[in-house]
């Protein structure tokens, strides 16, 4: 893979999608307002849960805010990259425009996963970071290199798991043609990630860890933030992330053999 070429193409992707989005200023403004309201609403909801009972699943409100911060960052990443690109796969397949992607001398997964960005998602990412910085202060967390490295690794793993799940579902469009609902279900599951895993019953914990590993996505990075995480959990998240990335890639390449293109 020619890294220089891919960086050049990605620069062009950024340029063209930003230019496309900036054509519609009002839309961006509405998205920004939605992001602020959504974060405020989530924190308010969380505070209601913790109002009567100071601790849920062993987590205090200030600690649970970390999960909310990580969730906000991930949701921002979802809105910036996953939503505009991965929902487009369904459209590409239904309308047959995937033909143009497949005939380009560039990796098709790279192309369809990163071609567009939605700049309003950046605000969410920033809000998530501010919330995390605030949480570091109120939870009196010591910042050091190993702490930051572990945080970064677990967040990258979370992003990889989320991306792979979404990409996996979108790929099934090659057979089922319409899978909008499935990606919506995934987004709904992601909302679950705003709450600590321990606050759920044992069976739900198993479901959200093994079947749909949403719990890995927010809980483990949050535990790292609070210094509560055990090394085996971090290693497990790394393995799960690599496994998901690898299998979603293989699944895409396998599915393309069944692509029949839309009729003209």
């Amino acid at each position: 893979m020619n890294l220089r070429k891919y960086l050049k193409v990605y620069k062009k992707f950024l340029h063209t999608s930003l230019a496309s989005e900036l054509e519609y200023k009002t839309n961006i403004l509405i998205d920004l307002i939605t992001a602020i309201l959504s974060l405020t609403g989530s924190i308010f909801l969380l505070s209601i849960f913790f109002k009567n009972n100071g601790i849920i699943g062993g987590w205090e409100f200030e600690q649970a805010l970390i999960i909310q911060g990580i969730y906000t960052i991930l949701n921002g990443i979802t809105n910036t990259w996953f939503n505009p690109n991965l929902t487009e796969i369904v459209k590409h397949i239904r309308e047959g425009t995937l033909d143009f992607v497949l005939l380009k001398p560039i990796d098709s997964q790279f192309f369809i996963s990163l071609k567009k960005i939605n700049p309003s998602g950046f605000l969410e990412i920033m809000l998530g970071f501010f919330l995390l910085i605030y949480c570091i202060r109120i939870n009196q967390i010591n910042l050091n290199l190993s702490f930051l490295t572990l945080c970064l690794i677990t967040i990258i793993c979370s992003i990889s798991i989320l991306y792979s799940l979404w990409f996996f579902i979108s790929t099934t469009t090659i057979w089922f043609v319409k899978t909008w609902n499935a990606t919506e279900v995934l987004r709904s599951f992601l909302y679950i990630g705003r709450f600590p895993l321990n606050s759920f019953s044992f069976s739900l914990r198993i479901f959200f860890s093994v079947i749909i590993p949403i719990a890995f996505i927010t809980t483990i990075p949050s535990e790292v933030f609070l210094g509560l995480s055990q090394i085996w959990k971090i290693l497990l998240e790394i393995i799960v992330a690599m496994l998901f990335l690898f299998s979603s890639r293989k699944f895409w390449l396998y599915a393309l053999k069944f692509y029949s293109s839309a009729s003209s």
């Binding site: 020619n2 050049k8 054509e23 425009t97 005939l103 003209s264």
Partner: protein
């Protein structure tokens, strides 16, 4: 002698299609228990295309033209048989192969809708690893050939269909492909835009010696661009050869309308042994075989007092129409 750039041997393609009975009952049945059937859309076809050739794929809707085109460019895996395009197996979609071909579809677009075409051109240039200087040079050359200038800087959504199609062509040709696959490139365009596009393709073929393989329902595209046609009927090739030969075989006679000086001359001509189609006063229409046109005209001009004459070719759409509906004609 020119070498083969496309070689297709015993190619077949089957698709699984789902069958649905009409009505609510059929819909419910279809939802719970989908019945599928394997449909062979391409049946054991073989052909070759030489470097620099322009070949037209002719066939009715659903005959399999687009499926052939998509297999040739590597989008669809063949079920049986082999395809070699420019020395490669298309379905592997290797980088060098993809840099050598392009697919243009009249009904689908790759340009970014909200931005001017120039943005899509530079994006494509980066995908094809062209530097800015080279990309600029090629955009200039192609835009001159396509006679577009200001349109490059207007958002695609505001361009007319003709301007959009020209821009689509530019986006698809920026990497100087040697093989062009065109699927109904002139669909929906007005007559002038169609003519311009055909002119451009001719010029491009002449200048770059690119091989062009196209499908079109507009006969003018086929007659003005393709010397050779491949007729596809229900997934099989029913004719592969020169277009003029096909037209001659399918329409062996021409009609000549003769305006005589007087009605008396017309009657005399009517009784002189020609096959008469119709006669009104001093005008008479006769049918003459293609191979005896010259001798017949000489006889008429030497022996009859005529004012004017017109040679009418039978409408090409009518002739091609015969191919599209009938597989078993003798050619």
């Amino acid at each position: 002698m020119k070498k083969n750039i496309i070689e297709v041997r015993n190619l077949s393609k089957s698709f699984d299609i789902s069958l649905k009975e009409p009505g609510l009952k059929g819909t419910i049945k279809h939802f719970f228990r989908r019945q599928t059937k394997s449909l062979e859309v391409i049946k054991n076809i073989s052909f070759e295309i030489k470097e620099g050739e322009i070949v037209g794929l002719l066939g009715a809707n659903g005959a399999g033209k687009t499926t052939i085109l998509k297999m040739l460019c590597g989008l669809i895996y063949p079920s049986k048989g082999s395809i070699i395009v420019s020395g490669d197996l298309p379905y592997r979609r290797k980088e060098n192969f993809l840099k050598n071909i392009t697919l243009i579809m009249g009904q689908k677009q790759q340009l970014i809708w909200d931005l001017p075409p120039i943005e899509s051109f530079y994006l494509n240039a980066s995908i094809y690893d062209l530097d800015k200087f080279e990309a600029k040079k090629r955009i200039k050359k192609l835009s001159d050939m396509l006679e577009i200038d200001e349109e490059l800087f207007i958002p695609v959504r505001k361009l007319s269909l003709g301007q959009r199609m020209k821009s689509e062509l530019l986006a698809a040709l920026i990497h100087k492909p040697n093989i062009l696959f065109l699927d109904e490139p002139t669909i929906g365009l007005d007559i002038n835009a169609q003519r311009n596009l055909r002119g451009f393709l001719q010029k491009y073929n002449k200048e770059t010696n690119a091989t062009i393989c196209l499908t079109s329902h507009y006969m003018k595209d086929i007659t003005s661009l393709c010397k050779r046609v491949i007729c596809v009927h229900n997934g099989s090739i029913s004719y592969d050869g020169k277009l003029d030969l096909l037209l001659k075989r399918l329409s062996p006679v021409k009609e000549i309308l003769i305006v005589c000086r007087s009605e008396k001359d017309a009657i005399k001509l009517e009784n002189s042994g020609f096959s008469v189609k119709n006669k009104t006063k001093n005008e008479i229409t006769i049918k003459v075989e293609n191979n005896s046109i010259t001798s017949s005209l000489r006889t008429i001009l030497n022996n009859f007092d005529i004012v004017d004459l017109y040679i009418n070719e039978p409408p090409i759409d009518e002739i091609i129409g015969k191919i599209l509906i009938n597989k078993n004609y003798d050619i």
